[in-house]
């Protein structure tokens, strides 16, 4: 440990390929164990009632998870596009534009996400008139917008931070080579920015994905809502326990690999 009074050398770690590393990961082992348990139950026909009920509900649950993933993907897409624009505006030479962008970022980063979701769900109309037709405006799209707004504010900040972290020496070097401002942006600064932004952007994606669970509070039929419905329908306390911990497990199974990959990316880009 760092504050030991005497330091001893650390032994070298053995290195292997991807597959051995996966097999050594305790989570993967746990997953395999659960699968093995499930197979054993099915083979011997001794599956507990709660687990059987879970199995019956699993298509609905997975559909719910699909809704969460759908919302998160679209919210991140919307948030990234809008966020890059806002981020670019926050760096503009015009002081007024900069202030507008900063106000946008301040507003949507300091608002609780739940409040923003309520905002877009209840304040937006439930149908929109487009070219004479009434098009229903489904709740889940409202949640997409509700999550896209804070996502965009965060992307704008990440973008601004990345641009500002490029040492000014590079700007000066490029300018002395007679590049125009837009050329500098495109060929030198942007590629580096993308690399610097990536870990934070992935963290944001994970955070937005987890925030999609709030959709259940505004009536969207996502995973959490499906679990609640299932729990009320089956009305067995064993099943309730099982289904809610399955919720945890499903979100974990989706988000944890992303988090691991993000850490891998961070390590790779740290060595540049």
């Amino acid at each position: 440990m760092a504050n030991d009074l005497v330091l001893n050398g650390t032994p070298a770690r053995p290195s292997g390929g991807v597959l051995p590393a996966l097999l050594r990961d305790p989570w993967f082992v746990l997953l395999l164990a659960l699968v093995a348990l499930g197979v054993a139950w099915a083979a011997t026909g001794t599956t507990p009632a709660a687990v059987l009920a879970l199995w019956h509900w699993s298509p609905a649950l997975l559909r719910g998870l699909g809704m969460n993933i759908q919302i998160s993907v679209l919210a991140m897409a919307l948030g990234t596009v809008v966020g890059l624009v806002v981020g670019a505006v926050s760096l503009s030479p015009s002081a007024l534009l900069r202030r507008v962008a900063r106000a946008y970022v301040l507003l949507f980063r300091n608002a609780p996400i739940l409040v923003l979701v309520y905002f877009t769900t209840y304040v937006f109309p439930f149908e929109v008139k487009v070219a004479g037709w009434y098009v229903p405006f489904p709740d889940w799209i409202k949640v997409v917008i509700g999550l896209g707004l804070p996502a965009s504010a965060n992307v704008a900040e990440i973008f601004r931070g990345a641009i500002q972290s490029i040492p000014s020496a590079q700007w000066e070097a490029a300018q002395s080579l007679a590049f125009r401002r837009t050329q500098i942006f495109r060929t030198i600064v942007l590629p580096q920015c993308v690399r610097r932004m990536l870990p934070s952007w992935m963290n944001l994606t994970a955070s937005i994905t987890m925030s999609t669970s709030l959709a259940s509070l505004v009536g969207v039929h996502d995973l959490v809502d499906t679990a609640t419905v299932a729990s009320n329908t089956v009305a067995s306390s064993d099943f309730t326990i099982l289904v809610y911990f399955t919720l945890l497990a499903l979100f974990f199974a989706y988000c944890y690999p992303i988090a691991r990959w993000t850490r891998y990316l961070e390590r790779r880009y740290d060595n540049t």
Partner: protein, 245 residues
């Protein structure tokens, strides 16, 4: 006196299309006021408890005891990679039910307490990460220097590691606390009477969602601003002149 102020408020906003007449209903006004108080209480409890959890988790993770660090690391990963709402449901709907069954009624942990515990644990994990990064940012030579000055292990920890780690981690910790304040809004999901919940109750009668959301936004904006100001004051008091910030 207050009646005239409230009337003025309603009158100011009516031309803008905003209906604040709920403030003239004493029951609804006091419910809203109660909600403001409960949110404040949630923050007042969760902030110190989360910091405490953060220090404990950081200490356990950096200790050299694998039987403590490993399970805790697993817990940290689960907490970071699952939604807080789901954690709250698991705690309140599942654990609470189990505890009530075991105790046969008379469960001392209120929903308010569950919100504090779950949110404080969730943010405590992020605090622990920030503190751990802060601990690792202390240059190893500075620790060798402390060792060479005949400090004991505990003295190195308290006189050198912790003061420096806290200073390095402070911006991240303050960010986490701002997030934490915003996160208390999920208390409304388990019917804890915070400002969000009370607002939902009011707008389901009066349909003045926008008006209430604006008030909520202002209130959370105020709270987060207070936290950032406090954070900046602390950063100023603890700063190390000349140490590149």
């Amino acid at each position: 006196m207050t009646a005239t102020l409230l009337q003025a408020w309603v009158d100011v906003f009516r031309p803008l299309g905003l209906n604040y007449s709920f403030v003239q209903d004493p029951a609804e006004l006091s419910a809203f006021g109660h909600g403001l108080l409960v949110t404040l209480q949630l923050c007042a409890w969760t902030i110190p408890v989360s910091l405490l959890f953060g220090v404990l988790i950081a200490a356990a993770l950096t200790s050299n005891r694998p039987w403590l660090a490993r399970p805790l690391q697993a817990f940290v990963e689960v907490t970071r990679n699952t939604p807080t709402l789901v954690q709250l449901y698991c705690a309140f709907l599942v654990l609470n039910m189990l505890i009530t069954q075991k105790l046969g009624g008379g469960n001392p942990i209120t929903p308010f307490a569950w919100v504090v515990i779950v949110v404080a644990l969730h943010k405590g994990v992020f605090h622990a990460e920030a503190l751990r990064a802060g601990i690792e940012a202390v240059p190893s030579v500075t620790m060798e220097a402390a060792r060479s000055l005949a400090f004991s292990r505990r003295q190195i920890l308290t006189q050198v590691q912790l003061p420096l780690a806290v200073r390095f981690a402070l911006p991240a910790l303050v960010n986490n606390l701002v997030d934490l304040v915003k996160m208390t809004a999920i208390a409304s999901a388990i019917a804890v009477g915070d400002v969000t919940y009370e607002s939902i109750m009011i707008w389901s009668h009066r349909d003045n969602v926008l008006e209430l959301l604006l008030l909520i936004l202002l209130y959370f904006g105020l709270l987060t601003w207070l936290v950032s100001v406090a954070g900046r004051w602390l950063e100023d008091r603890l700063r190390m002149p000349g140490y590149g910030q």
